[in-house]
Amino acid sequence: MFSRKTSSENFRQSVFIERMASELPRLVGLGMLEQSQADRIAAFYEREAAENPELSGNSEQSAQAENRAALQDRLLAIVICVAVLLIGLGVILFYSAIWKSMSPTVKLVQIFAWLSAVFAGAYGCLFHWRLPLTGRGLSLLGMLGFGAAIGLISQIYHISSEPATGVLVWMLGVFALSFVLREKAGYFLAAALLYLWNSWVTNWDDPEQLNANYALIPLTVLLGALFYTHERRSPTGLCIAIGFGLMAAYQVSVAWLLPFMQRAGEFYRVDEAGVAAAEQALLAAAVVFTVNVVLIGVILRGLGLIGMRLANRSQTTPEASETPADSQALALRVPAGLLRLLGWLHVLLPLSLITWPLDFSLLGGPDTAGAGSPALYPGVLPAIFASPAALPDIGWLLALTALWLAIGVALLIYARGKLTFPLQPAATVIVGALLLLVWPLGIDAAQLSAGYVLLFLVLGIWLVAVLRRGSQELGRLERGLFVGFVLLTLFSKAFGLLFMGIESDQFLVAYGAGFLLFANVIYLIVRYAGALNPATAGSHVIWLCDAGVAFTVYWMLYALGFVPDQQSSIWGARPIVLTLIALLIATALVLYALLIRRGGLTLPLGLSALVSGTAILALVAGGPWLPPAAYVVFFSLLLLIFVGAMLVYSIRIASVALANTAIAGLVLLILTRYFDLAWDLLSGSALFIVTGLLLLVGGYFLERQRRRLVDTIESQEAGQ
């Protein structure tokens, strides 16, 4: 930026000369240079080093000099920052004190004089007196002063209309000055003003009045490009630009959605037909919006992976940020990670939501099925095109869907062959999202079946991709996110279904057994993905997913052992329930067939078949004819078998952790069952005494058993 060579430039030059000296013989050896050319190049740099003593020192001295210079620069920057702040505060206080006694003319003259002095000072420091830091400080003060001047003129003339325009003008001035001076602090100031201006013009505080601010799109691109091209690339700045990009995407979507929603609201006032039309319209809007969210997620993740690729490609050394190019490359990692994280959230959260019913009375039986449930709708797109009145309102939102789709597909085509990660997950998500538009929504069976199939497909394909060798670009972040999502899905399903079961009372066993079938499918998907990638059999991803399944299955079996009331038969529930159970069983059977063909029947596979088979038995045979105690015995027994099988398996795979966990599960089961059954039989004091004695004896035997198990495992490990 400035003509004077700084110590950091000298340092870089000296490092370059040293590296050149070591590289020249290699280049000659490779035949890229003649020896005579190499000699001439070496002589040239030796001469330059001799003319400039700062270049001739060894790298250690240069580094020390560099450190000293950097420290001085930093100190100076702090001093100047404090000075700028103090001057700014002083000026504000001064004006506050004398403002009342000044006429408008005097006020205006003062503003112009003050601003002129600041800019003249900045110009002198930057271009004449070689005081770059002071110049930068003054130019920042000038940028702030510009805003203050706009505010003061508005005050003098009592201008209250379009206050956002003042902020826009201020922001553009800051953008322009920062661009010319390459002032990163100015970019941040411009970003803050962009946020302020955008909030003002879009009415974020009043959702009913929300506008789309289209100018935010080019300004976000400009801001991102400025942060990207700065000589010291700013990860924070790039993350801010990503935030603005997301804000732009959503404010356009929401602003186009709102009129449609408001119109749908008007239908409610008409009659019953109006209510049905409103429900249809709202459902259509919700689906189109969800599809947009998912497609935005695909784009974000794609951009994140490209950003990571860009960082890897630009980096010249493997680890540290030794060169400026490396620093620039490393600065891309944080925003790239943020993009990928946001992409995941956009795809997976809607995905997990569509596996839940729109109303929570699915098992309410045929009599109540019609009440409050939406009418039968065709697919969202057919519904929209069948009703021309709705088209103008939602047309723009659909156009936006098409735009996101085009960008997503373009990214996929670009990524094909250039990036090493597999493309199937993103392609599956795109196809799945588009299917939502034509799927006959409003029919719970169709919606939920589609939701589950999509969830299983995405989980399976994604897991295969995450585990695949050579997909290092996916990295730890994606693996962690995948495990997090599987656990979230399992836990939310377990608690959600249990809650629905408790709410419905007489269908608790049905909901619980349904979860067992669901968890089994997840388990089988993880197994199959692992089988497709044998090299990753011990991967933490698989291990954590298995643990999640085991944990939630344990708790569900445990909860089902406390069934309090008589249960209704599953055959009396709505057809959707049977459809979903059939879907889960069919998926499990296909996966069993695939797994057995690959590796035969293993103990965990047999155990999973036993648990899900028992769950099916409970579902089919359960009903008012069985007393609640039968379920208690049934599921307690199953839990015992489950824990026992885990113990056996822990020895087979030599896992002390699994053995300890299984024993803890067993102890908990026995204790709670004992208290549950025995409390009524014994008086309080006798119960505690007997329990204490039993625990002592039981503890002794359990500890002996545990010791034996651990010894067996350790001897197995020693033998391997």
Partner: protein
Amino acid sequence: MNFINAMQQTGNFLKRLQSGTPQRALFVGIVLTIFAVLGAMIYEREQILASPTRVMLECEPVDPRSILSGDYVILSYKISEFVGEEIDRLNVFNEDVRTDEWIYVALREQPGTKKPHTAAAFSKDPDRLRADERFADAILIRGKAVNSSGVFSDGPDLTLSAPERAEVDAYRYLELEYGLESYFVPQREGLWIERELAKATVSVAVGPEGQTAVRDLFLDGEKVVFY
């Protein structure tokens, strides 16, 4: 499309722009533009204030919650909000008004009095108002619909009884802003003015296109002077 190359090329373009342009000249140019913008703001206001057309507007009391550090007063006028039957009376061309649309209000002096101006009509089309001889003596000022219930062209529902119509009318409203809603005052001078707003009137200069600027604030007919 090679996305990475496109990104890099954009970056390179910006860098070339930065390195290829005369930095000093650009700096001076931008600073001069900044001064020009500030000058234009002042010029535009002075032009309106120099206009001989003036109106006097009556203020309405507002909640004092809007005071920011006591250094400005929120002004609300009798012509800031129209509701129900008032809309039907003033909407002489039966227009629908949506939020964010510009509206021109024809103001008229109350004949034979020195009382503030009142609204005689409003329309989205100033030329139509000017051409209408009923408003030949009126002064047009421009405002923006910041909140509107929207459809006014249907007029009142005459099939309803008077109480029913009153109930429906409450949901037919039009809120306008003229850019005259703030009056900046020295610190700690705002509260007492806000308390007296029921007695306040504001002298407003009106430009040829209906643009407005606050000239002076009057309390009980006396001009408020701070310096």
